[in-house]
């Protein structure tokens, strides 16, 4: 295949695909805005919107060489429990991309609608006669509490009409960060300068992300951070595809205060993630009538919790917020259970990421609550299909956590954006991503908000029972990552390279009783 053909073919095939999927969307959804959006997408027949893209340069760069996805995660050390899942997610996504598959989804070009590939139910839902609630009886007769008129699509993996990305094979360039920030920096430099990766997907702990972000910015490297985190990163080169505090802390705290009472004791990992998530908890809890009766930050090296448990019992809380990170900290759960501490627990990380409910004997995690965006038990057909595909590739795996799923859809999202851009040139792909994207992930519809580079996610409240079975007791179809918008961040108009902290927003001490 010559360069000439590549240039002519790839934008046209891609735009045909985009147009047809937009038209399908138009037929299937009840959204009035879809026609307008379809029109906008149809505008891509020639690269009109993307006319700033430097095609001569990008075509010169286009060869049959593989597209390199740089990938750093912790495959050993304290954080390996997360890193290995993420590695497998990347391997699965890349295998699918190379086999000509993609996730449903399309750029929204600012139209901002969600669920682009929802389908209308075959028969209209009926409101049940018994009960005063809005019970909606679906097609096979099961009852929902949801007023969505879409039917859940059975699988979200469709043909991409492409092999790899733009006909080029996708290759994973992966390295083990060994849970060590210095190693992370060395690896990031090596991937950017030596391997010249087309995109970098990396980072579990916030400390790791902050360690490599200056290196990423120096090289203007396109970088995806796929983890759930404390929020606030406003960086023109970084796209954060995991959920943040405002999407998880607020639903969790509200539920816990309503259900178990106002007194909360927070134990959190002593680094930026734990500190800032605890600050969110503290700032929000007065709004729902709760209070923090104790707050404790625990160094990542601590694994012996007898004393912490005694302190919690002395404070007599109604429930405990556990923001614990790493295998050392996870010992808290069996130790607390063995010491007879049976308080309800809430978290934004535990269970969904380190699958403590599968690793520790019941009932260590009994009564754990987490407003998750994904964990393996999410009860939808598309997720079951995803889990099945995963387990076929990695039959030994015990669990698929939140950040593994994020890594999976993020790599598919990158592939879609690069196909639309017609190149893997990093600046062009960043522009293509900044159209705003809707992608159908196993968790549900995810919307990449272009101005802040963060994602709106569906959020579900997961509860773990005595036998470590998980059920979902509340459901928020779309929760925006609104905090950076509130601070006036718009990376397209005003590029920035910093992380905002709650100290920069007066909201955080507005309601705190001193």
């Amino acid at each position: 295949m010559t360069d000439e053909i590549t240039r002519k073919e790839s934008p046209t095939t891609e735009s045909k695909h985009a147009t047809s999927s937009a038209l399908e969307t138009d037929r299937r959804t009840l959204l009035k805005g879809a026609a307008a959006a379809g029109g906008l997408i149809a505008g891509f027949t020639g690269p009109v919107y993307l006319r700033d893209f430097n095609y001569t340069q990008s075509v010169r760069a286009q060869t049959s060489e593989p597209v390199k996805i740089g990938f750093i995660e912790d495959e050993s050390g304290n954080l390996a429990v997360y890193g290995i899942q993420k590695l497998h997610a990347a391997q699965l996504a890349i295998k699918e991309i190379n086999e000509g598959k993609t996730l449903k989804g399309a750029p929204n070009i600012g139209a901002g609608f969600h669920a682009s590939s929802g389908e209308i139910a075959n028969t209209p839902p009926v409101i049940s006669k018994e009960g005063s609630n809005l019970d909606i009886v679906g097609d096979p007769g099961e009852r929902h509490q949801s007023e969505l008129l879409y039917e859940e699509v059975s699988d979200i993996l469709v043909d991409s009409n492409d092999r790899g990305i733009l006909g080029r094979e996708v290759r994973l360039v992966s390295a083990d960060g060994q849970s060590n920030n210095t190693v992370w920096q060395q690896l990031a430099r090596r991937m950017i300068q030596q391997d010249k990766v087309d995109v970098l997907v990396a980072g579990f702990a916030s400390a790791e992300r902050e360690a490599i972000r200056p290196i990423v910015d120096q090289a203007k490297q396109l970088y995806f951070y796929t983890n759930q985190y404390e929020g606030g990163v406003a960086d023109a080169n970084t796209f954060c595809t995991g959920p943040v505090c405002e999407q998880q802390v607020i639903p969790t705290v509200q539920y816990m205060v309503e259900k178990f009472g106002p007194r909360c004791y927070t134990i959190a990992a002593d680094y930026n993630f734990g500190q800032l998530t605890a600050a969110w908890t503290k700032a929000f809890i007065p709004l729902v009538g709760g209070e923090i009766v104790g707050e404790e930050f625990i160094p990542l090296s601590v694994s012996e919790f007898s004393q912490v448990i005694q302190r919690i019992q002395a404070a007599k809380p109604d429930w405990v917020m556990t923001l614990l990170v790493g295998s050392n900290h996870h010992n808290y759960y069996p130790q607390a259970a063995a010491a007879g501490l049976r308080l309800p627990m809430a978290s934004t990380v535990n269970m969904a990421q380190g699958y403590e409910h599968k690793r520790f004997p019941a009932p260590s995690l009994a009564n754990m609550h987490n407003a998750i965006q994904y964990q393996m038990e999410v009860p939808t057909a598309r997720n079951r299909a995803f889990v099945k595909r995963w387990m076929e590739m990695f039959p030994e795996d015990q669990y698929i956590g939140e950040m593994a799923q994020n890594t999976y859809f993020t790599i598919h999202l990158y592939a879609k954006a690069a196909r639309l851009a017609g190149t893997t040139d990093q600046e062009t792909v960043k522009k293509a991503l900044e159209l705003g994207w809707n992608i159908e992930a196993p968790e549900g519809s995810v919307f990449l908000e272009p101005g802040t580079h963060h994602c709106a996610h569906p959020i579900r409240l997961a509860v773990c029972d005595e036998n470590h079975d998980v059920s979902f007791v509340r459901d928020w179809p779309v929760v925006q990552a609104w905090w950076l918008q509130r601070l006036g961040v718009n990376l397209i108009r005003h590029p920035e390279y910093k992380q905002y902290t709650p100290a920069e927003d007066p909201y955080f001490n507005m309601f705190v009783k001193t």
Binding site: A80, V81, E296, A314, G340
Partner: protein, 297 residues
């Protein structure tokens, strides 16, 4: 009742903190305190013990037996290490430091390659008792008792048996011990295996309370060295006992009032001050004080 509960809680916290320090330092008491080898592979020997116990436990062996098995397996591993590597470095403190660090890397990375990054943990045996608003893990109460028994047994072995006498002689004056017919080579081998075995034993005892992973040993290294070094080599067992009690008395109230982070800071700060004031450790200072008193009397 409230008063009793608080009192018991305080005693429980003191006891768990002290016995954690002692368990972490148990094998090092022998290898560093008696043999004067800076053993940086101590954490990995504990890790081997924890792995042995975990693997056997999941094959259906009762937990107490797995602890015994961990002692035997790690003692044998220690014997192999001593024969092949460590014995070439007796008397070379820095050489031993580097070589044991190398052993620790090989053991942890080797475990990672052979057995993967984690293992399912052992459930914590026995339940809890509650007094007032506080509740306590029975397993930690048992651990405290077992630690006390192990320390007493080690003290008896070291001070009251012929092997203990030979060991002390060999460590103090190897030439003279050899001249008196002690097989010092064998004594070195036995002492190092005993130290390794004790590290494995305490690793197995702590296994239910920690995550089982190749790098788990690192969390024990700092507490182990602090306990043994603060205790000093003059009378290593009494020293370690005194050090763990003293450090626990500093860490427990600070940790309870101000949190785990400041509790650790207080522990390290106390160790710093003690080593500054008593460079040979608590036991040496105690010994001097006792000597002076006996001279006066």
């Amino acid at each position: 009742m409230e008063g009793v509960a608080v009192l018991f809680s305080v005693v429980y916290q003191l006891a768990t903190n002290a016995s954690f320090l002692l368990l972490a330092g148990l094998g090092l008491i022998v290898i560093l305190g008696m043999m004067n080898i800076i053993n940086l592979a101590h954490g990995e020997l504990m890790m081997l013990g924890a792995y042995t116990a975990t693997i056997l436990y999941h094959r259906g062996v009762p937990f107490p037996l797995t602890v015994v098995a961990a002692f035997v397996v790690v003692a044998l591993a220690g014997a192999v290490l001593e024969r092949l590597i460590v014995r070439r470095f007796y008397g070379e403190r820095l050489g031993a430091l580097v070589v044991t660090w190398g052993i620790s890397l090989v053991l942890s990375q080797g475990t990672l390659m052979l057995l993967g990054p984690f293992m399912p943990s052992i459930p914590i045996p026995s339940g809890s008792v509650s007094i007032g608003q506080y509740s306590f893990s029975v397993y930690w109460l048992i651990l405290t008792a077992v630690t006390a028994l192990l320390i007493v047994a080690l003290g008896l072995l070291y001070n009251w048996t012929t092997i203990g006498l030979y060991a002390r002689a060999t460590m103090q004056k190897p030439d003279i011990a050899r001249a008196l017919g002690v097989n010092t080579d064998r004594i070195y081998l036995l002492t190092f295996s005993l130290g390794a075995g004790l590290a494995g034993l305490s690793g197995a005892l702590l296994a239910p309370t920690v995550s089982i992973a190749p790098f788990m040993g690192q969390q024990f290294i700092a507490p182990a060295f602090i306990t043994v070094v603060v205790g000093g080599a003059t009378n290593v067992i009494a020293g370690a006992l005194g050090a763990s009690a003293l450090l626990s008395f500093v860490k427990t109230p600070v940790g309870f009032l101000l949190g785990a982070f400041l509790g650790n800071v207080a522990l390290l700060f106390a160790a710093l001050i003690i080593i500054r004031l008593m460079p040979d450790g608590i036991s040496a200072t105690f010994q001097r004080w006792q000597d002076r008193r006996s001279r006066l009397a």
